[in-house]
């Protein structure tokens, strides 16, 4: 296509405002798909960062840091204080102890900003008390619930023994962070915004790859049928009729039931469903092109059939095939989503939009609408945009609508 005719094409395309909008929307989705890792605030595939405490949070809530517990043994030996972690878990909290005069010991929690749920000191020596703490009715455990400050003071009226060991246990409350779940979380505590962005990525990739592979396969078969005519044509076209006669989703379900799930298998299922559209379109347009005189001229110039089909006939069928391709991307995306929704598509760990809709489906009646609705809206917008784009391309291709 020359530059001038492309400009003309672009100008005619731009005459429809909905087409321009849908092109823009489609490009935004492609952009999202390409740059999802940069755009997404979290990586939804990283399972280690998921925490159930974040599950099913509504839109706009903040991520919570879960409460932690730290235990240390505090050994006092002739005035020397050593702090030994009793449990090896890594926490943000730590405990320290220091002397605060004769018969006085301070146990403090670091960082001081941490809000504590409780601070407990066990095995106090006889006679020692903790201000404001409650003693366990039986055990020598002293507990302060919701302490105001981050340190406690152990004092004793009598002198403390020369050496003794305390066990200090600090429990922090759940803590709000600055991270906001802009679109809420799903039932695994995944950030929906990130999941949707990655879901777009999967949907767009599956749509493009599947529709593209179907286009190549179907077009090749269609051209072959058109060139061979006769029995080959009849066989291929009956296969097409057969494929078109069965519901697409049913075929997809059957294929995935046999092969199991996974991205490549979903792509394969879509290709098997969609090649027939391309074959039929390519065949019918190739037939009409083959009847034109320039093909006869090419045969008269003794060009090989492959060259005639690929160099002369195919480029003249391409506009129609590209229209079909655009429409079929949308169909492929919706089919992938449908299959995932039905639970046979992609694995749970790599959620596509359909999978997200499915995972929110069970919560939708408990007013946790965001898990299904947001991916649903995104899917809807994406498919509508693709379809409008395809429709516009088809209109531009139709000489009867052109003036």
């Amino acid at each position: 296509m020359s530059i001038a005719s492309f400009q003309d094409f672009a100008r005619r395309f731009a005459e429809s405002r909905s087409a321009v909008i849908s092109l823009t929307v489609s490009l935004v989705f492609v952009f999202c798909a390409i740059f999802a890792p940069l755009l997404a605030p979290t990586d939804p595939y990283d399972l280690t960062h998921l925490q159930l405490s974040d599950a099913l949070k509504p839109t706009g809530s903040k991520r919570m840091l879960p409460g932690e517990e730290v235990r240390v043994n505090i050994r006092v030996n002739n005035g020397a204080i050593t702090v030994l972690p009793a449990s090896p878990t890594k926490t943000r909290l730590s405990l320290a102890a220091s002397s605060c005069g004769p018969n006085c010991l301070t146990v403090s929690v670091e960082p001081t900003a941490a809000r504590l749920g409780s601070l407990q000191v066990r095995n106090l020596p006889n006679g020692a008390t903790i201000e404001g703490a409650k003693k366990h009715p039986i055990q020598p455990w002293w507990t302060i619930d919701n302490p105001e400050s981050s340190e406690v003071r152990i004092t004793s009226a009598t002198s403390l023994p020369a050496s003794f060991t305390l066990l200090a246990i600090a429990k922090s409350l759940d803590q709000e962070t600055d991270f906001v779940f802009r679109l809420g979380t799903d039932n695994f505590g995944r950030d929906m915004l990130s999941a949707i962005l990655y879901g777009i990525r999967i949907s767009v990739v599956v749509g493009l790859v599947a529709a593209g592979a179907a286009m190549v396969l179907g077009t090749a078969l269609g051209l072959f049928a058109a060139w061979q005519r006769g029995v080959t044509d009849a066989i291929i076209m009956r296969a097409v009729d057969f494929m078109l006669g069965l519901p697409a989703l049913l075929i997809g379900l059957a294929i995935l039931a046999i092969l199991g799930n996974g991205v490549s298998k979903v792509v394969l299922a879509i290709v098997i469903v969609q090649w027939s559209y391309y074959a039929r379109t390519a065949r019918s347009f190739a037939m009409s092109e083959l009847g034109k005189e320039y093909v006869e001229a090419a045969r008269c110039l003794r060009l090989s059939p492959v060259r005639i089909m690929l160099r002369h006939v195919l480029p003249n069928c391409m506009p129609q095939i590209i229209v079909l391709f655009t429409l079929n991307i949308a169909a492929a995306i919706s089919m992938e989503s449908s299959l995932s929704f039905l639970g046979v598509g992609l694995p749970l760990t790599r959620p596509s939009l359909g999978m997200l809709i499915a995972s929110g489906y069970e919560f939708i009646f408990s007013q946790k609408y965001w898990i299904s609705i947001y991916p649903g809206v995104v899917l809807l917008v994406m498919i509508v945009a693709m379809n409008l784009l395809g429709d516009r391309l088809r209109d531009l291709n139709n000489p009867r609508l052109d003036r």
Binding site: A297, R299, C300, H312, N316
Partner: protein, 334 residues
């Protein structure tokens, strides 16, 4: 000069109408019916000498375009023989580079050029692929050819839709000339053009014939164009040749009733308005042609004989043959 370049002997071509393998199957087994067969070309024999132009004239459905495609080797014959310089056509066509010696110019200036290719590629493609010209020199080669058909050098980079009908037809002629043919088949090559453009293209063909001594088969429904361009003329009716003679002789003294009717119907430019004789009868469907002589339902001199017997081509004068049962040799006037 009188070497024969092409010969067709009893050439026939039939088409099964509207059939598909499935339909053939059901027709054969379920409906017990033979598929309809269209005999587009029916036992046509003709010869073409080196440097000669043979005209084929006839109305729509007479099979002249099918004949053109069989001669060009892009349509196989159902039966009969084709020879190029004495060699059997099938083995000739198998040698791709030699087969380029027969080329064709088409009717429709719109559809005869691939709209997605630039003129440079349309004209140069085959010459490069068949090794007539190295790829590095193809541009100059194409420019030369385009100059021969009267197109500017900058046409090379343009697309067919950027040309007028006459210019497109020139591109079509250039495409055929680019592979150095010895024989050119023009299928209604000027029919779709305006009068003034038609004259330009006819002159171009005359120039090319004079310069390169091409043998030509010129197929047309336009008797005026045929008379102007051709050395000999074959008149076809419903798939058969009914008369074949030197152009001057055919136009001066046509012998077959159909040829006469055709010449009478030919509009002539004259300031004196001529009152038409009403000529009765439709062209019968080629699917179901009349028995015997195909022309008998419209023929003014029909006899019982004509309904039953298929007339063979008979020589009525040297070089003048016709297929009529009633007009005897040497009694050309009725």
């Amino acid at each position: 000069m009188n070497e024969m370049i092409f010969e067709a002997k009893d050439l026939s071509r039939s088409f099964a109408v509207g059939s598909s393998p499935l339909q053939d199957f059901t027709d054969h087994f379920l409906r017990n019916r033979q598929p309809a067969v269209l005999r587009a070309v029916d036992n046509v024999s003709m010869t073409l000498n080196e440097g000669e132009t043979l005209g084929v004239v006839g109305e729509s459905g007479c099979g002249k375009s099918t004949l053109a495609r069989m001669i060009a080797g892009i349509l196989p014959a159902s039966s009969g023989e084709r020879r190029f310089r004495g060699e059997d056509y099938d083995s000739f066509l198998r040698r791709k580079r030699d087969a380029l010696k027969v080329q064709m110019v088409f009717q429709d200036p719109m559809s005869s050029l691939n709209p997605r290719l630039r003129v440079g590629e349309i004209v140069g493609e085959a010459a490069v692929l068949h090794g007539l010209v190295p790829r590095s020199r193809v541009k100059d080669y194409v420019v030369d050819i385009l100059a021969r058909v009267g197109l500017p050098a900058d046409s090379v980079g343009r697309y067919p839709h950027q040309f007028s009908g006459g210019q497109r037809q020139r591109v079509g002629i250039a495409r055929a000339l680019a592979v150095k043919p010895d024989m050119l088949i023009c299928d209604e090559a000027v029919a779709a053009l305006d009068v003034s453009v038609q004259a330009q293209i006819i002159n171009l063909l005359l120039d090319i014939r004079r310069d390169s001594g091409l043998a030509m088969i010129f197929i047309s429904h336009d008797l005026g164009v045929i008379r102007h361009l051709c050395d000999r003329v074959a008149v076809m009716y419903l798939g058969r040749v009914v008369e074949l003679a030197k152009t001057s002789e055919l136009f001066a003294s046509p012998t077959h009733p159909y040829t006469r009717m055709l010449l009478d119907g030919m509009p002539k430019i004259s300031a004196q308005r001529r009152r038409f004789m009403p000529i009765q009868g439709e062209i019968p469907s080629p699917l179901n042609p009349p028995s015997g002589c195909h022309f008998h339902p419209r023929c003014p001199m029909v006899t019982d004989h004509c309904h039953r017997v298929r007339p063979e081509l008979r020589e009525i004068e040297p070089g003048h043959v016709h297929a009529c049962l009633n007009v005897e040799p040497h009694s050309k006037r009725l």
